[in-house]
Amino acid sequence: MSALVEIRSLSKVYQRGRQRIEVLHHIDLEVAPGEFVALMGPSGSGKTTLLNLIGGLDSPTEGTLAVAGERIDRLGQGALARWRATHVGFVFQFYNLLPMLSAQRNVELPLLLTKLSGSQRRRNAGVALQLVGLADRATHKPGELSGGQQQRVAIARAIVSDPTLLVCDEPTGDLDRQSAEDVLTLLQRLNREHGKTIVMVTHDPKAAEHAGRILQLDKGTLVQSEQAVA
């Protein structure tokens, strides 16, 4: 029971009309607390599907999935939503910020679901923005920020409610080299200094180097697991 994420014989089948698509086949995986894991593999191999299951965005067809001892494969939609709100932070390839809200308001979003007062929400969001180095951009709308900055705002939003687990789906997939490097360094810092457990999908071997362990997924099966050099 030392693993933070504990996956046993996990399968995911999508039904498209009459067609059954088995995207993940009996995956076994453990992620220890404080680990930074990179998940690599060809396009269509099921990386996003696996990440979504770990983050509680979707439910598996078979197998068990526990996070911090809680069997999230057994949670219903409502319970899963509440679980996500407190236990996971999400970072996506295209940032997925709300375009009408300032950086500050975007970061505050997850806190709207808590009992925190307005001023507490503002303060916590401010701290998160500070942590990603964007305190001076708090009032900017996403459209007024560069891609790298938007992704850092998204990371601030992911950590603002202090979840133990961060799941990132190709967080640097849409960024230039320098911005990507900034984002990866930030994730690494969150992992090392703040103890966040991170599971990150990436195509980029250089990005994967920032992780402590690299997993390879191929056609829905984990093919190897290796310790990264870094």
């Binding site: 979504n52 965005l57 979707d58 409502g78 939503a81 509440r82 996500r84 709100a85 709300l98 009408m100």
Partner: protein, 384 residues
């Protein structure tokens, strides 16, 4: 309330589209406010006539068919009838043909039966003593700047004086006020003056009004009154005054139907329009709603956000529309005085309006909200 900025942000996302939709909501509720203002003015008049203790006896053939004055004494003998008076439509214009005035010649007991009209004891006494005396409604007096003591020439609509002149000169001996300014648009003079000076129509009145002691007896009393004239040349029909008002205002009941039809069409169009806007808005924001769900917003929270958005949109437009309607009525009243058959856009209209707004907002938001609620995060994030 802490979600307000989210809802507002959603509305402000496409400013032009929101403005356009808002404008149509404003227009619809401006119309609603104006029509309601006219409608409530008419209902109020109808209701004020409808007192439980009053009966009205008119010729079966209609209000314009005169009844003999001799009937008054007979009606007075009917058990249950406490007071009888008569009213005769006279009608006239002042100074120019377009200045129509509702002039009535009234019998002796008229003021006993119309206690909602307030006039001083002095005015009442002067009216009883002055053959050419007239009591004018305060609003009417304001309209023509009349004062007590003025002599006013009124051009009769129907009845010439003996000798053929249509001009009747009256002495204003008093004014009355009424709870409803609409009812202050009338002037009353003595039927006895009419009977003395008119070239024709003498010895007749328009209709009788009776005060009865027991509203439950109304049916029986009415029958007895009508029996007095059965098989005569002037058969009567006696009704409670509310039934009478319903008859009299039936033209406005039709108006009410038309009003409802118009509002129905307008609101229907509005719902299609706003519904389309909302559907588009939600479709466009599918990824954003998916993000909210990812962050832990429940299905119900997403549903509420979308519903709140459409309700807010309609409430904003509706409130603006009703404010505008109120201002319009205010301006019109300033120009035309209280002869305008419109009541200020106030409490009851706002309440009905607000109910309509919330209902429209909910109906219009229901489908898009359900769509937002049901969307699958995984598919929406993948753009599927």
């Amino acid at each position: 309330m802490k979600f307000l900025h989210l809802i507002w942000g959603a509305l402000m996302r496409r400013k032009a589209r929101t403005a356009f939709t808002l404008l149509s909501v404003v227009a619809a509720f401006l119309l609603f406010g104006l029509l309601e203002s006219v409608g409530s003015a008419f209902t109020q008049v109808g209701q004020s006539i409808g007192a439980a203790h009053r009966l009205i006896t008119a010729a079966k053939t209609g209000l314009m068919t005169p009844l003999p004055v001799s009937l008054e004494r007979q009606i007075h003998t009917v058990p249950g009838v406490q007071v009888v008076t008569s009213e005769t439509f006279f009608g006239g214009t002042y100074q120019k043909p377009s200045n129509f005035i509702n002039v009535l010649a009234v019998g002796r007991n008229f003021w006993h039966l119309n206690t909602s009209m307030r006039l001083s004891a002095g005015a009442r006494r002067a009216f009883a003593q002055t053959q050419t005396g007239v009591i004018v409604g305060a609003a009417l007096a304001r309209r023509f700047h009349w004062k007590v003591g003025d002599q006013i020439p009124i051009k009769a609509m129907i009845y010439p004086r003996k000798g053929g002149s249509y001009t009747w000169t009256f002495d204003i001996v008093g004014m009355f006020r009424d709870r409803m300014t609409l009812r202050e648009q009338v002037m009353f003079f003595r039927w006895r003056y009419f009977d003395e000076a008119a070239q024709f129509g003498r010895g007749t009145v328009g209709w009788y009004v009776e005060q009865i002691g027991e509203p439950k007896q109304a049916g029986r009393i009415a029958q007895t009154i009508d029996a007095l004239s059965s098989n005569s040349g002037h058969e009567t029909r006696t009704q409670t005054s509310s039934a009478f008002a319903a008859d009299f205002y039936s033209q406005y009941v039709d108006l009410g139907l038309i009003v409802h039809a118009i509002m129905g069409a307008v609101f229907f169009t509005l719902m299609l329009l706003t519904g389309n806007t909302m559907a588009q808005a939600v479709r466009e924001r599918t990824p954003e709603l998916a993000v909210l769900k990812t962050l832990g917003f429940s299905n119900r929270a997403v549903l509420s956000l979308v519903l709140a958005e459409s309700v807010l949109l309609v409430l904003l437009g509706g409130a603006l529309g009703l404010l505008l309607a109120g201002a319009t009525v205010h301006v019109l009243q300033g120009q035309m005085g209280s002869q305008l058959p419109m009541l200020p856009v106030a409490g009851a209209i706002w309440l009905r309006g607000a109910i309509a707004m919330v209902a429209i907002g909910l109906v219009v938001g229901a489908l898009p909200a359900r769509r937002g609620m049901r969307l699958s995060i995984v598919n929406a994030l993948a753009g599927r």
